[in-house]
């Protein structure tokens, strides 16, 4: 039996940025961007679910983010996660990868009882691929990055196939280990219709607090208890629930700072329009031949 923790992230859909998203000063208006489940993290969840199916155990999905990130935790439940944690606090905002991995590693220490930690290799909003290795370092456990396949787990060891530059390696690691996974190694399973019916009403602490704001007859402690009883509570960890040094969290705990942001300035300018006709293309080819680029 092996227990897995999966680190997932809600990301802005950077592939679908439209004009309205860019502010006049050239910065990005995050609130205007559609938020999606980072694809590689979904693949990571799939690998964790497969480990559970092969060997038994439990799959716990965790995310650090604003309250609306509970959306992707519900999706984790739809796919088959047993338990979810939202790690959310205003003091975590503006974190770079170092501050993020610090909070995640402390949350994982609190959750405990794991053999595997899975994560996508990178998130599409930053493409840094840093949070996985940095979390492993803070937990003082080994890491296997660029994982393509979990071959076999036995006793306190796992064999995995990982990508290297120009090929692949089979490695064997002692457990616990953190694995980051590549995007196209498996297709994440679709949502189970039954699980969607069950878990669409799952709620985090912040989701429930919103309900109490809308209806003064509801009490938060009672609501949390009720959702826990029904198995619909997305466990929520804030600053107060974790053993954290506030100086290492959020923007304060981030050594990297954004100094300047510029809109993209286009270069070039010597552009010449070539008509899409054979005659014009022929002239272009002649030009390239006389420049000794062709021929």
């Amino acid at each position: 039996m092996y227990n897995s923790i999966v680190m997932v992230k809600q990301v802005p859909d950077t592939a679908n940025i439209s004009g309205k998203v860019m502010k006049d000063d050239g910065t990005v208006n995050r609130a205007k961007l559609p938020a999606i489940f980072n694809h590689e993290d979904r693949v990571a969840l799939e690998l964790a679910l497969q480990v559970k199916e092969r060997y038994g155990g439990k799959v716990t999905a965790i995310t650090m983010g604003p309250p609306r990130a509970s959306d992707i935790l519900r999706e984790c439940l739809f796919m088959g996660a047993d338990e979810t944690y939202l790690i959310s606090d205003r003091k975590f905002a503006g974190a770079d990868t170092l501050a993020t991995s610090y909070v995640l590693s402390e949350a994982i220490k609190k959750i405990g009882d794991y053999h595997f930690i899975f994560a996508g290799r990178q998130a599409i909003d930053g493409d840094t691929a840093q949070v996985g290795p940095q979390t492993a370092e803070k937990l003082n456990i080994p890491q296997i990055t660029y994982t393509e396949e979990v071959i076999e787990a036995a006793g306190d060891k796992v064999r995995a196939k990982k990508k290297i530059d120009g090929g692949y390696e089979i490695v064997e690691s002692k457990l616990p280990v953190l694995l980051t996974v590549l995007k196209d190694v498996v297709d994440p399973r679709p949502f189970s219709a039954k699980r969607v019916m069950t878990y669409k009403n799952a709620k985090s602490l912040m989701d429930l607090e919103k309900l109490t704001e809308e209806n003064s007859l509801l009490y938060i402690d009672k609501l949390v208890h009720e959702y826990e009883e029904r198995g619909l509570y997305i466990k929520t960890l804030t600053m107060d629930d974790l053993n954290l040094d506030v100086k290492r969290c959020g923007i304060k705990g981030s050594p990297t700072k954004v100094y300047k942001v510029e809109s993209v300035v286009l270069g070039g300018g010597s552009q010449q329009i070539v008509e899409p006709t054979k005659a014009a293309i022929g002239e272009l080819i002649d030009q390239l031949m006389s420049d000794h680029i062709f021929g």
């Binding site: 803070k138 293309i281 680029i293 062709f294």
Partner: protein, 340 residues
């Protein structure tokens, strides 16, 4: 906080089976400029087994000193011993800047080391500069500007690490140019001992497979690249056909790679390879900044796109507006005719 720094620039020299990675030497060349700007020293860090040849080469690219850690158990890269060695060295000597190639190895190693030494780390930089910076009303002398496209390429961000001693960055292969010195530096070689640790063996390499016939886009004089705009894998074959006809290499944008039109080793751009060929033909590529970052220094650029407003036209020398499925066959036809 103004600290007294030695202003050293370190470059991690990556080797695979005893062969140095090009990107490491490219970074030495950039590192030399950065260390000159700060009047500091450039140091190369070589970890492996029997690496004498690599050590000699570091001086051709400007290293003042090369730190060597050799041991049979360090022959192949492994996260735990390599990161432990760097952690200890960095904590002891506190370099101002440490650069890594943004390779599979560099992206495994750099974050682990940055986490342990609590350093700032910026991934996939497209430019690095030294500058005095005023940030939050404080003056900082000789900071590393870490420049990279961000947020889907809609902005260019300059990242700084003002409050910690060590600034780290990763850079993709081909982004920095290789300039061997006319005369190699008479650099110092410092060999340090390696003491194995019980944690080193937590992960063992059981098998390793590497294919040699690697695509070398950087060396190709002509590149024909296709994008998502081609729509189908079938249409992408036109790109291959054109490349074949004019003697070029096939490449693709990230979107084309994601769509499965072309393999990842042929991706041009910020998260792929940076190229500077004599001729770059971009077909059905809109020209997001991440792509342009990887090709805009090409000698001549031809853009073929059905959208006249596509940003790729802004960096192109020749623009053809129209449907690639008509233009490419016409191009091939005319070209073959001219050669006769």
């Amino acid at each position: 906080m103004q600290m007294d720094f030695k202003n050293e620039v370190w470059v991690f020299i990556e080797q695979r089976d005893g062969n140095p990675a090009d990107v490491s030497f490219e970074l030495l060349c950039k590192g030399l400029k950065l260390s000159d700007a700060m009047k500091g020293k450039l140091k190369a860090i070589v970890i492996g087994d029997n690496v004498n040849e690599i050590v000699e080469q570091t001086f051709i690219y400007g290293a003042d000193e090369t730190i060597v850690i050799e041991h049979p158990s360090l022959k192949h890269y492994q996260t735990l011993p390599y990161s432990r060695i760097l952690n200890e060295l960095i904590k002891k000597h506190v370099p101002r800047i440490v650069l890594f190639g943004a390779t599979v190895i560099g992206r495994d190693l750099a974050p682990r080391v940055a986490s342990h030494t609590k350093s700032g780390l910026t991934a996939d930089c497209t430019d690095l500069q030294i500058s005095d910076v005023k940030y939050l009303k404080q003056d900082h002398h000789n900071l590393l500007l870490q420049i990279r496209p961000a947020f889907g390429g809609n902005i260019i961000a300059t990242i700084i690490t003002p409050d910690v001693p060590v600034q780290m960055a990763t850079v993709r292969e081909g982004v920095m140019e290789l300039h061997p010195l006319d005369k190699p530096k008479k650099g110092k070689i410092t060999k340090l001992p390696f003491t194995p640790d019980s944690m080193d063996d937590l992960v063992k390499i059981i098998e390793q497979h590497r294919e040699d016939n690697k695509v070398n886009l950087k060396a190709a004089p002509i590149i024909v690249a296709g994008g998502y705009g081609l729509g189908t894998k079938e249409n992408f074959k036109l790109v291959e056909e054109l490349a074949h006809t004019i003697g070029g290499e096939v490449a693709g944008s990230r979107a084309a790679v994601d769509a499965g039109f072309v393999t990842p080793d042929r991706q041009v751009g910020q998260t792929g390879v940076t190229v500077r060929p004599k001729l770059y033909i971009a077909v059905g590529i809109s020209g997001a900044i991440q792509h342009r970052a990887g090709m805009q220094e090409s000698n001549k650029i031809i853009a073929i796109n059905s959208d006249p407003d596509a940003p790729i036209f802004d960096v192109a020398h020749y623009g053809i507006v129209g449907n690639a499925t008509e233009i490419i066959p016409a191009f091939i036809d005319v070209y073959k005719h001219k050669l006769k």
